[in-house]
């Protein structure tokens, strides 16, 4: 019992141990809900739930009422899973005693790019837009395409993953250079 509490209170686990938990989440999701976890689709889902009533009587904007019917039937399974992700991560930091409010990442970002809040928020905002555009084109994100697809041995995942690492490495090389 003490050993379990000690593990639960740890800040970080070995990535492989956490990875076993990740694999189990995907197995149980397929088993009990016949779905694979994904997260980027949640943004489409929320946009559709908000956008459909707003554009229902608009003769020009038919995007939500015609083009996207599958995701306009209310909040979907993925949405509730994303709520669960938030709660699970929150519980993890609370039990580890690491909870704190901060406007920018304290580790590494502050040392390399300084403490300006606007800079981090701008980069995160622009980066977030690029992420969602990429996920929209590819058909999923790291969870819904790379992991869910990879586990089911879909070629799509193995075309997607090398691309992330190629441009990700180039981007980091350009913005970090020899710093840090």
């Amino acid at each position: 019992m003490n050993w379990i509490m000690k593990q639960l209170r740890k800040d970080l686990w070995s990535p492989e141990v956490a990875g076993i938990g990740l694999g189990l989440v995907y197995i149980f999701a397929l088993w009990f809900s016949h779905r694979m976890p994904g997260t980027s689709g949640t943004f489409f889902n929320i946009a559709a739930v908000v956008g459909k009533p707003l554009t229902a009587n608009d003769p020009i904007n038919q995007f939500f009422s015609v083009s996207y019917p599958p995701i306009t039937q209310g909040l979907n399974w993925q949405f509730y899973m994303v709520v669960g992700i938030f709660l699970g991560a929150l519980a993890s930091v609370l039990i580890a005693g690491k909870f704190k409010w901060t406007l920018i990442p304290i580790e590494q970002w502050k040392d390399v790019f300084g403490g300006a809040v606007w800079k981090r928020w701008l980069v995160a905002f622009v980066g977030g837009i690029i992420i969602e555009i990429g996920a929209g084109i590819a058909g999923g994100c790291t969870s819904g395409l790379a992991l869910a697809g990879g586990i089911q041995l879909s070629p799509a995942a193995f075309l997607f993953i090398p691309g992330i690492f190629l441009t990700g490495a180039i981007t980091q090389w350009l913005i970090y250079r020899n710093r840090y």
Binding site: V25, F32, M81, G88, I137
Partner: protein
């Protein structure tokens, strides 16, 4: 969608969020450094998760318990180009 579905989604999401935090994937420096190849926690986490998932999912499939869900369609250009764009955003934002 039934209430059971919602509960399963919340519980699995909770476990997902828990392991994401315990592996450090919700931290900027973990995502930033995997692309600089100075901290491979992201890869170690994702690859071991995929290994466990592959074995489990295909075992259940051969036992006839599950069908593989609609997998994202393989479209060569879309998957590759999407991945290339995604990588830029992921490295910048650190999400």
């Amino acid at each position: 969608m039934t209430t059971t579905d919602i509960l399963v989604a919340l519980v699995l999401g909770f476990a997902f969020g828990w392991v994401l935090d315990k592996s450090g994937l919700n931290r900027y420096y973990k995502i930033a450094n995997v692309f600089r190849f100075t901290d491979l926690a992201v890869l170690r986490f994702m690859m071991s998760g995929m290994l466990v998932g592959m074995v489990g999912v295909y075992t259940l499939k051969y036992l006839g318990v599950v069908d593989l869900t609609a997998v994202t369609a393989t479209v060569l250009a879309a998957n590759i180009v999407g991945g290339l764009i995604f990588g830029v955003g992921m490295a910048l934002a650190g999400f």
